[in-house]
Each structure stands twice: as C-alpha cells, then as structure tokens.
C-alpha cells in the first residue's frame, strides 16, 4: 500500500514536471512527432504506390508475358494450359515517332484496357479507325520527353517488311501510366487494319494471367508456341520481388526515406542530453531521495517517466499526423497528374497502413526511452554522502581538467565547461554532425556525378561520339558493311544488347552485350584484364565492379529468366560511363545460352553501335549525315544518343539528388535547431546560479552570450570531422540506393565539402535560431532568485 502511494505521488510528480517544464516538453514532443511522421508518411506512400504500381504492372504484363512470332491459334492452345486463367494478345513492332523509338501496337480496346486502363487516357479518346493513334508514355522515362498533342498529325515509321513504311496518323488520345510496355517508354496504338497492311497478322506479344507456378507455365507456353511453328524471342515472369518497376520505385523511395531516418536519431539524443542535465542539476534531490530509501523504480518515475510521457505524446501525434501528411503528399506530389491520381485513388483508394505508423511510433518511443535510461543510470549511481555533504555551484565533482587554453581565465572556464558538461557537448555534436553530414552528402553525390559527366564528355575516357540504337528486321550485316565504307567514321563497335531483369542481386537490370563487329574499345575500353573469348567468361563495367566489389578472377552469379543460375568468370573490367554502368560483355554463345534466344528470331534485331567520328569538331553535322546514310540504306529505325543527351540525363539525376538532400537539410535544420536550442537553454537554466555569480563578479551580458556562442562554435569545430565521416556514410548509402537509376557513382569530396554553401546554409539557420534563443533565455533569467534559491 505504502509503495503504491509513493508510486502515485511520483507519477503525479512526473506529470507536473511535464507541465511545468514547458520548453523541454514542447521540444521533445515536436522532435518525436517529426521523427515519427517524416519516415512513417514516406513509408506509407511507398507501401501504397508499391502495391498500386505492381498491380498496374501486372495489369499490363500479366503474370507471364511472351514475345516472338506467335501464330494466332496459340491463343486457343495457351488457354488450355493448366494454371492459365486468361490470354491476351497483340501485335507489336518497333517504329519511330519523330526521333523517339516507340513500339507500335495493334490491339483492341479491350486489350488496351487490360494493358493500360482507360482512365489513364489523359486527353481525347481511344482509336476508332485507321488513320488514328493513341500515344502512350510511361512514367519514369529518362531524359526529356516530347509528347504530341491531341489533333496533331504525326509520322509513324514502322520497321517491318522490306522497307520502312511511313504512315501519317492523327493523334486522338494521349495516355500515360506507370508501366513500360516492352523496352521503350512510348507505345503507339494503331488500327489493326493499318499494321496488317505492313505485317502479317502474326501476334507478337501475349499476356497470360496464371495461377500457380509461373516459371513452369512460362516454359510450357514457350513449348506450346514452338510446337505450333512459332518462335519465342523473349519472356518475362512477373514475380513481385523481382519486378523491375517495383525495384526501381523502391530505390527511388529509399533515396528519400534514408535521410529522414536521421530525424529518428534526434529524439533519443534530446532525451538523453536534457535528462542528464536535469539529473546533474538535481543531484542533491536525487541524493535526498536515495537517502529516504527510494530505489530504481522511484528514480525511474522521477527522472525517466517525464521523458517517456513526452515521447509518448509526441509519438502519438506523429502517428496521427503521418496519415494526413502521407495522404496529402501522395495526392499532391507523388501522383502529380490529375487523371492518374484520380485513377489510382478511385481504383485502389489510399491504404492508411496504420501498422507502418505504429511501427515508427513504437520505434521512436523505444529509442527515446533508451536515451532517457542514460540519465537514470547516472542518477542511480549518485553517491548520497558525497553529494549531500558538498556545497557550491555543482553538487557533484566535475572532472578535473588540468589543461589550460590561452591566458584568459574566462576562456578556460568556457572550454572546460564543455568537458565537465560532456553530455551537453555530445548533445550538440551529434545532431549538428547529422545536419552537416546530410547536406555534405548531397554535395559529394553531386561531385561524383560531375566527375562522371566529365568522363562521359572526355574522349580519352569515353572514345565514342554517339551511340546508335538501330532496329532492323533483317540481319545487320549490310548495315555494318555500310559503316565500314563511311569515310567519316573512324571506328565503331556493334553489339547485341539484351536487358536482363533482376539477374544480379540488388540490381533491377543489367545489360548483356555480345559483340557483333568492331573494336569494343570504342565503347567499353579495358581498364583491367581482357575481353571475354569463350563461354563462361565476362568483362564487367567498372560501375558494376565497384558496386559489387568485383575484380579480375572473381566469379559473378547471374540468374536468367528461367530462374537458372549461371557462373561467369570475370576476365576484365571495362570503363562504361555512358549508361547506367551495368554492362556485361560476353560472347555471343554465352548470350544465347543465358537468354535462351537467338537474336532476330521472332522480333526485330536491335543492335547498339558506338561510333567514333574522324573529326571531333563536327560531331553534330557528321551525326546528321550518319543518320541519313543509315536510313537511306534502310529499313532501319535509328535512335541517336549523343554525349550531350547522355550527360544531360546524369545532370538531371544530380539535380534531383541535390534538391532532395537540400530540402531535407532545411527541414533537418529546424529539427536540429529545436534539439540544440533546448539543450543550450536547459543548460542556461541549470547554470542560472553560476551565471548570477559571474554577473556579480562583473561579467557583462554580451560577454555571457559570447561565451555560449563560443561554446557553440567550438562544438561545430569538433563536429566537422565527425560530420565528414557521417557525410561519407550517408553519401555511400544514397549512392547504393540510386544504383538502379544512375549506376553506382562513387561520391567524391574531401573534408572541404562540409564547408560548402549547400552545407553551411542550413547550419547558419540553426546557429541563428540558437543564438536568438540563447539571448532571450539569458535576458529572462532572474539572477537574484537564482542566487537565493538553494
């Protein structure tokens, strides 16, 4: 009974502390709320979009998608396979719309609906006859995208038959969605009759909805098609964990989620630092409590419970607020286009994922509780006799700091105080290092991209002047003979590309390349080792080698679309700045073995040709000539990617990275300002009597403020090397998370990155807030009361 009464008294006391110490209460509630709401809201958005994107992707590609030369009777045959629930087919072929490579597709309205839902028609309507087209563009496209408008007349060049066919079409509808359909971001839906005039009616793509073993059904479908005289050139098995769109999206979201996790660290730092300050200030009270017989539970109630109550309130508010923030961000930023947001929202709604909010609330609460156990441990160890017997400004012996700084005693006092009150110093250094580290990491990433772009533009690193992506129905020998004859082409490298999804752990795509003709050094110059010469050998791009820690002699494991693992020996490392950097150069036989397909069967050849021109000063002119020469020799669809467009893509990524880290740094500046201000103002209050004594000795107000400012500056100086280390860690983690967008780009920067404008601006905001709060707090101190109180 007695202990219960004591417990009630102490809980009541804890609640009073929460109410009376308003500044500390508000600070921790605010910090905890942000620590919960920021990551929780992003995680909720991620969970919603991940699910929605996957479901939309599944709508398009189904569970299994196959392309090739597929007889129309295959539709019926496949429907009879065990596990197959539905079959949709369409005709696909490559084409050019202006300068963009597109897929031209023939499909009925119903098939279009199952591939691309009708509510993503942004403008206009679906096609109703020949001469009309709907142009579809997937999101997450790289580089600038030009969309025609409804009513525009466009030229569609279809690569089919013996010559390219140019067709004039009127755009009647524009559509957009989350999904690529095939390898290009554009799809043009045209009338069946139109493509029938240039191609036979063989289906080229089939989408299956399957229940059961997806890979097994994919294999049976392939066999069925081949038994009917068709050929399968590519297939995809849609497993969620390997879904490239979902993996890309997860990478994108984690770029934002990672920095906000920093906020989670602020809450325990604040509770530990302020809690320690309280225990030290009240050490005489602690000693008296222990002398009265109070044990761990009573000390917990007195010195940890107030922090737990505050953290619980903050976590609860964060839990509730995260829902509103998530929904608002989802509708206003992540699903920016009106029709898509309406479409996604109407179809899927918005799942609150309460469990996610609860997870972060409990995590932050738990960490804050852990932080507040540190002061409890100190309180538990207070020496009752020593503390009660000691009088003076500190009721506990501060560490003996023997060294002196300069001749000025005042300076020594301020510097030694930072050692004596080490929790204050640590409480300042940790949040400041996270703040500076976050801003600097953006600078390091930006520097890394800058170096990367320089390498793209530098001929000694990247010898080619342009990359041509050429689609052709027939074998490319004639095209290559043409290139041999062109006098303005110095050298070239032609290869067959094949993108494999989820083949290497952690990466959405890798591109396999098999040489056809030419010098691989034009596009993929060797850094180490040699080019592959036989089966089971591979040369990897330097970005892939850096990311996976590969060197010559290592073994790389690759998973193919049938789920089989292939072990390839790394025989060389090549430079590849121009694309994501995940190139695998192997022999043609290895490519066929891994992919299961021979190029050209069932679909157009696509080859990549890297071209180095003789005259580097006339690149634009010569590339124009090259395109015309190739098209004239036709039928070829040619996409020319020059260096400025390659470097433009990387610069765009760098801008996005910098924007994200800058915005988050500014938000972090406010949170860090709250944390550090609370620590300093709490310190001022705890030292009120010392400040009164100093004032009585003649210390002026501005000297006092300068003293606290000097401690802050000293804390910042101590922070710098820690912040540099933190920035390297954050930059590396961000680089690993953007690996599926840009390849692995090593962050670059020495300790000078912590002093750049991007880093200093949020720090300056924080410093100004701290100094203003310090001035206000000092001015509000009642010095006479401080001297009189015991």
């Amino acid at each position: 009974m007695g202990s219960r009464v004591v417990g009630v008294l102490l809980v009541r006391s804890a609640l009073r502390v929460v109410v009376w110490k308003r500044l500390e209460t508000l600070a921790l509630i605010l910090v905890t709320m942000v620590a919960v709401a920021a990551p929780a809201s992003l995680a909720i958005i991620k969970s919603n979009l991940e699910y929605q994107i996957y479901e939309l992707f599944k709508d398009v590609s189904g569970d299994v998608m196959l392309t090739g030369l597929i007889p129309s009777e295959a539709l019926t045959a496949l429907k009879g396979l065990e596990g197959v629930r539905s079959v949709n087919g369409m005709i696909l072929t490559f084409g050019l719309l202006g300068e963009e490579r597109v897929l031209a597709a023939v499909m009925g309205h119903e098939t279009f609906n199952s591939f691309v839902k009708p509510y993503v028609i942004r403008e206009g309507r679906f096609i109703e006859g020949p001469g009309e087209a709907v142009v579809y563009r997937a999101m997450f496209v790289r580089g600038p995208v030009e969309m025609p408008r409804v009513g525009d007349e466009v030229d569609l060049v279809v690569v089919a038959g013996q010559r390219p066919v140019s067709v004039k079409l009127r755009v009647v509808g524009l559509a957009t969605g989350y999904n690529h359909i095939g390898p290009t971001p554009f799809l043009v839906v045209v009338d069946e009759g139109l493509l029938g005039r240039v191609m036979n009616y063989t289906l080229t793509a089939i989408r299956l909805e399957v229940v059961g073993d997806l890979r097994g059904v994919a294999g049976e479908a392939k066999s069925t098609i081949e038994s009917l005289g068709g050929a399968v050139s590519w297939h995809m098995v849609n497993v969620r964990e390997e879904n490239p769109v979902v993996l890309i999206f997860e990478s994108a979201m984690s770029v934002m989620t990672l920095p906000v996790l920093i906020f989670i660290a602020m809450a325990p730092v604040l509770s530990a630092s302020l809690g320690l300050a309280t225990v030290v200030r009240d050490s005489r009270n602690v000693a008296v409590m222990k002398a009265m017989g109070c044990g761990l539970w009573e000390l917990f109630s007195a010195y940890t419970l107030p922090w737990v109550i505050r953290a619980a309130l903050g976590a609860l508010m964060g839990f509730l607020v995260s829902q509103f923030i998530a929904r608002w961000l989802y509708l206003n930023y992540f699903v920016a286009e009106e029709d898509l947001s309406r479409a996604l929202y109407e179809r899927f709604g918005f799942n609150p994922y309460w469990g996610t909010s609860a997870y972060y609330a409990l995590l932050v609460l738990g960490l804050t509780l852990l932080g507040s156990l540190i002061p409890l441990a100190i309180a538990y160890r207070v020496d009752v006799v020593k503390v009660i017997a000691t009088v003076g400004l500190h009721a506990h012996p501060a560490p003996r700091v023997g060294w002196s700084v300069g001749r000025l005693v005042v300076l020594r006092m301020w510097v030694r105080d930072m050692v004596a009150r080490w929790w204050k110093t640590v409480g300042l250094v940790i949040p400041l290092s996270l703040l500076i580290g976050l801003g600097s990491s953006g600078v390091m990433l930006s520097n890394g991209v800058g170096e990367w772009v320089k390498a793209v533009e530098d001929r000694s690193s990247t010898p080619f002047d342009a990359l041509l992506i050429i689609s052709t129905v027939e074998s490319p020998e004639k095209l290559l003979e043409l290139l041999d004859k062109l006098d303005y082409v110095k050298r070239y490298f032609a290869s067959t590309p094949y993108s494999l999804a989820a083949a290497v752990e952690g990466l959405t795509f890798v591109e396999l390349r098999a040489p056809i003709k030419g010098d691989p050094g034009v596009e993929l110059p060797l850094i180490q080792g040699r080019y592959p010469m036989g089966g089971g050998e591979v040369a990897v791009s330097h970005g892939l080698a850096s990311y996976k820690g590969l060197k010559v002699g290592d073994v790389l494991e690759l998973r193919d679309t049938f789920g089989r693992m292939h072990k390839l020996e790394v025989v060389g490392v090549v430079r590849a700045y121009h694309d994501r950097g995940f190139q695998l150069l192997l022999t043609r036989d290895s490519l066929v073995e891994i992919t299961g397909y021979r190029p050209g069967i069932g679909r157009a050849f696509t080859i990549k040709v890297a071209v180095e021109l003789r005259d580097p000063h006339r690149v634009e002119e010569l590339l124009g000539r090259l395109r015309s020469d190739i098209e004239r020799a036709g039928p070829y669809g040619v996409e020319v990617v020059d260096k400025s467009s390659i470097s433009g893509t990387f610069k765009a990524y760098s801008t996005i990275n910098t924007s994200i880290t800058t915005i988050l740094s500014l938000l972090a500046a406010v949170v860090v300002a709250v944390v550090t201000t609370s620590i300093i103002t709490s310190d001022i209050s705890a030292r009120a009597r010392e400040i009164a004594v100093l004032t009585s000795l003649g210390l002026q107000g501005r000297q006092l403020i300068l003293g606290f400012a000097a401690q802050l500056i000293l804390a910042i100086i101590i922070t710098m090397p820690i912040a540099y280390t933190t920035s390297k860690i954050i930059a590396r983690m961000l680089a690993e998370r953007t690996v599926n967008f840009t390849g692995y780009i090593e962050p670059v920067g020495g300790i000078e990155v912590v002093t750049t404008a991007t880093t200093m601006a949020p720090l300056l905001i924080t410093i100004i807030i701290i100094i203003v709060a310090t001035i206000i707090t000092i001015r509000r101190l009642d010095l006479v009361k401080a001297l009189s109180d015991l």
């Binding site: 000691t390 009088v391 003076g392 400004l393 500190h394 012996p397 501060a398 003996r400 700091v401 001749r407 000025l408 005693v409 005042v410 020594r412 006092m413 030694r416 105080d417 004596a420 009597r689 010392e690 009164a692 004594v693 100093l694 004032t695 009585s696 000795l697 003649g698 210390l699 002026q700 107000g701 010095l783 006479v784 001297l787 009189s788 015991l790």
Partner: protein
C-alpha cells in the same frame, strides 16, 4: 554622509501571484573602513539589502549611492560595469566557479576588472597567502573544505581592490572555528580601508563588527555597537 548611502529604500517582489515587500523604507550609511553587520531572522530582508547594494537588483523606490555613484539609477549594463570595479561579493554557498582552480577563481575577477595581465598572478598568490591557502592554489573547489572555499571566495572578492565588500551569510555553512576565522578576515579587509557589509543571522558573530543593523520584516528596528553613529540611521 557615508561612502555608502541608503535612503528610504523599498523593495517589492512578486512571488507567484503574491506581492512581497522585502524592504520597507530602509536608510543607513556605511563609511570607508567601516565593518558593518546586518542581522535579522530569516526573511528579514538581509540578502535583499546585499543584492541592492551590489547592484544586482534595483530598489522599487528609494536611492542607493556608493562612492558618489547613484547605483540605483544605473541601467543593467552600467551597473555591471560599476560592479566590476567597485564591489566584491561573497556568497553563503561560496559559489566558486567549479571549472576553475582556486588561483583561477581569484584571477577571474581581476581579468574582468581589467587589472593589467602582468600583475595578476602575483597578486592572486598574495591574496591566497593572505587567506592562508597559497599551497592550495591549484586545487579545484570540490577538493577544498567549506571553510577553505569561503576563504578563496574572500580572496576573489577583494582581488580587484574594490572599495566595497558585501558578504551574504558568509559563515552560515561553516563550523564555529571557521566562522570566527572568516569574520576576522573580513575585519582585516575593512582595516585596509574598505567598507565591508556582511549579513548574518548569528547575532554573536554580528557583534564582532563595528556596528550592527537589526532588520525585521524589511524594517530597521535597531542599531547596536560602535563604528557608526546612530544618527546615520533613520528608522
């Protein structure tokens, strides 16, 4: 007229929602070289008077003049500047700066007062010798006993040679032997020509001063002893 003149000083405080009048119309004079004790029970206004004389606080009404300077009319910055040169304060709980050694605590006052750097250390050591603690110059406050800390506080208070020394219950936390020692030190300081005012609730100790002012409920209720003429004090 004395070196220190207090004329009809009143001081009110607001504590929570209650208005408390700590001093009611107090007047007194203190001469240079005079050793005056202010005594009274707890809550009589002794400490309040000390804080007003030191310029740490200002009276609600009335006048305080020290060495010709109307301290009660100065703003906070000027009072701080005046205090640096003209006052030494000794507190009940010593209040030595814990991150400074005994020597450094004494040096701090001289540094704030602008005493030339070359002379500080020598003078500080002289003062510590004066209070009998030269051999403990390098000790931190928690390494000293209560009596030793208070002696360092006295050295700190006189380091910059102020004409006025104020002590608020300097002996409250000491044993009898140390109490007497401290009072004798204060006596020596006043003998050096400084005005010394010390507040104490110990009447016996107070009678060791030249004169005693008795306070009760913020009012001067009596004067005792020599060293100051009754006519200097107006009830």
């Amino acid at each position: 007229m004395g070196f220190v003149e207090v004329r009809d000083v009143w001081k009110d405080y607001v504590v929570g929602r209650v208005r408390v009048t700590a001093l009611r119309g107090v007047s007194l004079d203190v001469d240079s070289g005079e050793f005056l004790a202010v005594t009274g029970p707890s809550g009589s206004g002794k400490s309040t008077l000390i804080y007003l004389l030191s310029g740490l606080d200002v009276p609600t009404r009335g006048l305080i003049r020290v060495g010709g300077a109307e301290v009660s009319r100065l703003d906070q910055a000027r009072r701080a500047s005046w205090r640096r040169r003209s006052v030494g304060v000794i507190f009940q709980f010593f209040h030595l700066i814990p991150t400074l050694t005994a020597l450094e605590n004494v040096l701090l006052t001289m540094e704030l007062a602008g005493v030339p750097a070359g002379k500080r250390v020598e003078r500080a050591l002289e003062l510590l010798e004066f209070v009998g603690l030269k051999d403990k110059a390098g000790r931190y406050p928690w390494e000293l006993s209560g009596g030793e800390q208070q002696r360092v506080a006295i050295a700190r208070a006189i380091a910059h040679n102020p004409p006025l020394i104020l002590a608020d219950e300097p002996t409250a936390n000491l044993d009898y032997e140390n109490k007497v020692r401290i009072v004798e030190l204060l006596r020596e300081v006043s003998n050096a020509g400084k005005a010394v005012v010390f507040a104490t609730h110990d009447v016996e100790l107070a009678r060791r001063a030249d004169g005693v002012v008795h306070l009760r409920d913020g009012v001067v209720v009596g004067f005792e002893g020599g060293g100051g003429a009754p006519s200097k004090i107006s009830p």
